[in-house]
Symmetry: C2
Subunit: 192 residues, 2 copies
């Protein structure tokens, strides 16, 4: 059993676009579904979808209410259950405050990125911490062409990229979250 | 470096629906994108999308041609590259024949499912085989409410479920493929 509490956040601002401008990306319906299902499967303590715009916040709310109160919830109760751990937030500061209020601890922030950085933490080291220490972690996932640099640098840790040895590293955020959560929170399938 | 060739197939028939009727499911655009990107990242030898209906085959063809020859390919060359390993097929027999013709070997078929079966193969054992043996593997992924039983039983192996210890096991096929391919073909991140 893991000892730490673990939260994940999907951020839509400040992100890079293809030309490395700083933008807010749009909410993608299937990101919410796929990531909520991963989060529920691995008993993540909360999944935050973060967007500064009221309009996009409303879109998230409409998706949630269809699956929680509307037809979706009775058609597919598993989906309703997954969405119960999804929360909306306007920015990172709001999440930090909310988690601190719930857990009594300021979360250790962990940025993820497909690019290489110096001083990254390995999956193995972070997994060992999560399973042995009574701390609170917040894993941050970006959208678009990735998280803006200064946001990355504010984080306590930067996790190493997923496919360090590959000549192609363009996974969807849905795949990246699935793989990273499996590596960090999943069973120890690799131990004989 | 792994020794084996590994192919993956996304099947749409024969699948169960929610009521356990046997059906053909619809092709989902983002399945093609997400799984092609995973396959390319992990150097999978080929990704087959399998559907018996001419109509759905045509839909797959239209998506591919947008990203390979249309505007998509020039807008996002990474996506074009990922789609180069995507092939269409009408049924499993067609894929088996095609892989055997390419590699000279009949592929070892590996079914995946969220349900438990007796005689499943573990991730660790299959990963060791893939990295040490000069064989050809074909990993089969279902859609809808999972692969029809007799199809499962025809396979050489059934892989154990992903989240054996979880009280919730409803991942999207996009997440399941990401996690399973990472476990079987990914780097040995868990070794110190």
């Amino acid at each position: 059993m893991r000892k730490a509490s673990v939260y994940i956040a999907l951020l839509h601002h400040p992100m890079y676009n293809k030309r490395m401008d700083i933008v807010a990306t749009s909410v993608t319906n299937l990101d919410l579904h796929d990531i909520a299902r991963v989060a529920r499967t691995y008993n993540v303590d909360g999944f935050y979808v973060v967007h500064p715009s009221a309009n996009q916040q409303q879109l998230i709310g409409e998706i949630l209410s269809y699956w929680q109160e509307g037809y979706g919830g009775s058609y597919n109760p598993d989906r309703k259950e997954a969405f119960e751990i999804l929360h909306r937030a306007e920015n990172l500061a709001e999440i930090m405050a909310e988690i601190e209020q719930t857990t009594g601890q300021r979360p250790v922030t962990v940025a993820t990125d497909a690019r290489r950085y110096p001083n990254t933490i390995s999956y193995r080291t972070l997994k060992e911490e999560i399973f042995s220490q009574d701390k609170v972690y917040l894993l941050l996932f970006g959208t678009g062409w990735g998280m803006e640099q200064s946001l990355m640098q504010q984080c306590d840790y930067i996790l190493e990229p997923i496919a360090v040895d590959s000549d192609y590293n363009h996974l969807s955020v849905r795949s990246a979250v699935s793989i990273i959560v499996d590596r960090l929170l999943g069973e120890f399938w690799f131990i004989p």
